[in-house]
Symmetry: C2
Subunit: 324 residues, 2 copies
């Protein structure tokens, strides 16, 4: 097996790896950002020796590269990475606690390795090849249980003094509002996230038979985000109202971010974004209503992410290439 | 008269000009950001031919340069400048409405000219020579009647798609809150600005004799920001409470910005900042309380601007040099 010249420098390949709490996904990425082939592995857990996680990463990288030499590797980690991209400081589902992951893996693989967190990598990939390609600046909002975010300017993610830029979900939008696990109150992600979506649906779930009630067996405590998404697609009004509320708060928060960053495009990813226009349409309306000077500026489009679950590994390669 | 070699390239000088609604201030700026000498002029008004304003600028530049040739000129304008620094799109106190100010003045002065708005220029000056020197990233918040803002990264102001980045004052912090002239509700500057300071003081002004009551002749409608500042310095509790409220909202809003930008330092300028620690101390407390992950990061210092009213013209020269 040999890689074509478009898959890396000389005869080598660029490999991106996305490591999350349950799986390792490695892929060879060509010069156009396409994933040529992938290899999967399991993450051994969070209460193990970090070496075991690193073993799984090395194994997936070598498997996907096959006989092609490695030109460079990018690692997207589901955790908090320091400002210089050396260490994973903390990861809720992985054993790293300040470990020098970049250097360790670069040494084991014998190749330059770039490290950043998965949300930043996904934003970079959307900027290079996805929904924000051909723009100078973009905002990426990942709506999962909470909110992940990143601002990309001229092909680089704004990382900040502590590597903590882009914590948009903890911007306060309601004084004295919903308590947040971060210790604050009224954080944006308490109103705009998968968590909020489920809360809105629970609060509105009545006793009359509905699609949503059927999906959760009549027990609001068993409601999940995917159930709300499915019920909304099936015409359930409670579910649709919950999406409208998340979408409305999405637009309000995006208006705040656009006031500050004046980005060219806003990309929405994450599980909640599977609802597509049901989420994005109210967000666009709220953005136009809330954004300062909306009639005197180009209001950025709010669009869905397009690269899917491979965005993290692709972005890790974009980062690795930019550092080479 | 001749300029020393530190005042410009060869024997030439770098001149910065700050043009506001009432005056033109030009200054020769040396290589260390020091203002060597200044010249002043009056702004002819907002309902005049724009040429008259440009005449006043050219006159001030030539007077301050004296016999030294111009190496470059920077113009800080109290108005909205387009994303590429060519035109002043709108200025509430000046006659420009989309005029190609950069090209016109460069042509009349026969030298390269850089243009940006005065708040951006002041932020650039503080970053290069002032309260944010030796940092990679800084946030500047100018507290006047409203809020002016800028984010400086690696010596450049983030300008954005429309040249409208940094509109921090119109980020919404209270749903359905105070109406704002921008058309929105609950904008940050409705709670944190000179305007808000006076409103807080008015709302609290009782009938008992106080320093503040005396200053405004017992008529809340005659209260001004400088009166509140003076009364607070003189021990007036109502005035001090008004500053505490503005400072508290300042810290809350700064926490939102730091969550997004993770800047190294936050610089507070503008008329309200004359109150110094009376404003900054509650702001720091609120920042520490509100900022996500405050115990796990370097929380940026909130400091006062140091360059004073010449910051705009100094920053205009910083910009002009960066473009040369």
């Amino acid at each position: 097996m040999s890689a074509g010249p478009d898959a890396g420098g000389a005869d080598g390949v660029w490999v991106g790896v996305d490591v999350g709490g349950t799986k390792v996904l490695a892929g060879v990425v060509d010069a156009d950002g396409r994933v040529v082939r992938t290899a999967r592995g399991e993450t051994p857990g969070r209460r193990v020796d970090p070496t075991l996680v690193e073993d799984a990463i090395v194994d997936a990288v070598l498997r996907v590269a096959g006989e092609a030499p490695l030109t460079g590797v990018g690692l997207a980690a589901a955790g908090f990475v320091d400002a210089v991209g050396e260490r994973v400081m903390f990861a809720p589902h992985l054993p790293w606690r300040g470990d020098p992951v970049r250097e360790r893996l670069a040494s084991r693989l014998g190749v330059a390795l770039a490290l950043d967190n998965d949300a930043n990598c996904a934003a970079l990939a959307e900027s290079a090849y996805g929904a924000a390609r051909d723009t100078t600046s973009s905002l990426m909002i990942t709506l999962g249980t909470g909110i992940g975010g990143a601002f990309v300017l001229e092909g680089r993610v704004l990382r900040g003094r502590n590597g903590m830029a882009g914590e948009f979900g903890h911007m306060k939008v309601v004084p004295g509002g919903q308590a947040c696990p971060c210790g604050g109150e009224g954080c944006w992600e308490q109103y705009c996230s998968g968590h909020a979506l489920v809360r809105y649906a629970r609060e509105r779930l009545g006793r009359e038979p509905t699609v949503l009630g059927e999906l959760c067996g009549g027990d609001p405590a068993r409601l999940t985000g995917p159930m709300v998404t499915a019920a909304a697609a099936d015409g359930d009004l409670t579910a649709r109202q919950a999406f409208w509320m998340v979408g409305n708060w999405l637009g309000l928060g995006v208006a705040n971010l656009v006031a500050a960053f004046d980005a060219e495009v806003v990309v929405i990813g994450g599980g909640v974004s599977a609802a597509g226009e049901r989420l994005l349409e109210p967000a666009r309306a709220a953005l136009r209503l809330s954004l300062v000077g909306a009639d005197h500026r180009v209001v950025p489009p709010i669009v869905g992410a397009v690269l899917g679950p491979e965005a993290g590994l692709v972005g890790a390669v974009v980062l690795a290439r930019s550092q080479s």
